[in-house]
């Protein structure tokens, strides 16, 4: 069906999901690329982009829920959603293990997002044809 060469993308999302359109655009880009037969090596969330990984995001019913859309897409096409751990901790995005270590009452990392280091971005950057930042 598609005769174009397949491109392997790494996506860097640095934008806040609640206040910047570019986070939604990143999602739309991934969706369109995957539907066209391209590959996503992984999506790395950094800066305010890490707020996408909160399972407490609760928009009004007539608004989209970007964290849920990202999670669905990642499940459907089986690519990782990596979230920078240091950027996350300072913004209150916490997984179970960090909550235990830091003696916090709660954790809020949404599955299948995973906390990882910036080294993971280096790996994703090396392992792609194109890196796109949103």
């Amino acid at each position: 069906m598609n005769n174009h060469p397949i491109v392997k993308f790494t996506i860097l999302v640095t934008s806040n999901p609640a206040s910047k359109q570019s986070n939604a655009t990143a999602y739309q880009f991934c969706h369109a690329a995957l539907k066209a037969g391209h590959l996503i090596s992984g999506v790395f969330f950094y800066l305010d982009g890490v707020l996408t990984a909160s399972n407490l995001v609760s928009p009004a019913t007539d608004e989209i829920n970007l964290p849920s859309l990202w999670a669905e897409l990642a499940y459907q096409y089986d690519f990782p959603l990596e979230v920078c751990v240091s950027a996350s901790l300072r913004r209150g995005i916490i997984n179970e293990q960090e909550a235990e270590q830091l003696d916090l009452a709660h954790f809020n990392l949404k599955t299948p997002f995973v906390l990882s280091g910036l080294g993971q971005l280096a790996e994703l950057s090396a392992n792609c044809d194109r890196l796109m930042q949103f």
Partner: protein, 119 residues
């Protein structure tokens, strides 16, 4: 061959965390990539201007971390000469000794990169 990664800094040092977190990212990537270039353009040049008094504004002084770039062998640090001139900043006032480039030279160096991350 290793990809050439360029990190473009265009924001002032404080007011948003872009500068500090871009520097965190640069230092981290330098451990994995030896072809890293940093660009300071526009208000980004203020990140390098010495004598920040960050305690007064409850921000973290990340300038000591700029010294780590040399330790991590990040040598391709480019600053837009025009951006400095427009802000009346001389190279002696900067906390590190970068390479000054004209706007045209910045453009051609940016074009050499395989990947650009912009903050």
């Amino acid at each position: 061959m290793e990809k050439k990664i360029g990190i473009v800094n265009r924001q002032p040092p404080h007011g948003s965390s872009d500068a500090r977190e871009a520097l965190d990212l640069s230092l981290a990537l330098s451990a994995f990539n030896e072809s890293l270039s940093l660009f300071y353009i526009g208000d980004g040049v203020y990140q390098l201007l010495a004598k920040h008094k960050t305690d007064d504004i409850l921000q973290k002084d990340f300038q000591p971390m700029l010294q780590m770039l040399e330790l991590y062998d990040v040598e391709q640090i480019y600053v837009c000469q025009t951006s400095l001139e427009l802000r009346n900043i001389s190279i002696d006032q900067l906390v590190i000794k970068p390479i000054l480039l004209s706007i045209e030279a910045i453009s051609s160096h940016l074009a050499l990169q395989d990947q650009l991350l912009s903050f």
